[in-house]
């Protein structure tokens, strides 16, 4: 789960770099994202989800193509990773200081009291907001 949240952070960087047309940052983020995905795919229990990881690899590669084959909306991809980040934050008392994971959470919801995640100060547990991505 932690690796998926980190992968989400790297994909977010990749999307930002693409928007800025910063080729160097694009290459760096893509390389790091692929390395994390490879690490995830090598985990013992990852085999049953290999089909999903395979599609994810294809999406990562498509993002950096000059003429993408797919029509991936950045917001859809960010929303895909958000639940993993929220899960990590919820299970580690406000992320354990993991700023990478926090990048996936829109700023208004990073406060554990707002998000209802039980923090070190004993914030109440409750619902976690989601972020719609209709289009």
């Amino acid at each position: 789960m932690f690796l998926m949240a980190n992968l989400g952070s790297e994909v977010t960087r990749l999307l930002c770099a693409l928007a800025e047309h910063n080729e160097g940052r694009v290459r760096g983020a893509h390389t790091r994202a692929c390395a994390i995905l490879t690490e995830i795919r090598a985990l013992p229990d990852a085999e049953h989800a290999e089909g999903e990881f395979s599609i994810l690899q294809e999406v990562l590669d498509d993002l950096i193509r000059e003429a993408p084959h797919l029509r991936i909306q950045p917001e859809s991809l960010r929303n895909y990773f958000t639940p993993f980040a929220l899960k990590v934050l919820a299970s580690s008392s406000y992320g354990g200081g993991n700023s990478n994971v926090l990048e996936l959470i829109p700023k208004p919801y990073r406060n554990p009291k707002i998000r209802g995640i039980r923090g070190k100060n004993g914030a109440d547990e409750g619902g976690v907001p989601r972020y719609s991505d209709r289009g």
Partner: protein, 115 residues
Amino acid sequence: MFSTRMIIRIIEKPITRTEAKEIAEEFYGDMVKGVADIEREVIALGGKWHMDANNKVMETGSSQTNVWGFNLYPDKEGEDRIEYIALINIRPAAGNRNMYIEDADIRETIRKIIH
């Protein structure tokens, strides 16, 4: 990272909102990943990945071309309740190059199956 305890449920008859919330709470809390077979009109809910539910319906006789992924938010109302987004929805051969299900008819079919 991966839990050994993972329950995927095939839903052929209507379930209550409470039951859907229970499935959601098993992993993501407020959301549950699922797939719908638009031909058989069944859904599978639960798991960490859409591929989990996808594999489950395939085991019970579904054809991949009829299976689409979604996220269900049991506590939400109206259009916010279902999110037609999943990596498994990317199917260039079927004309869907997006994580979002672009065909409105398919989305509507899924909505009717879920409701």
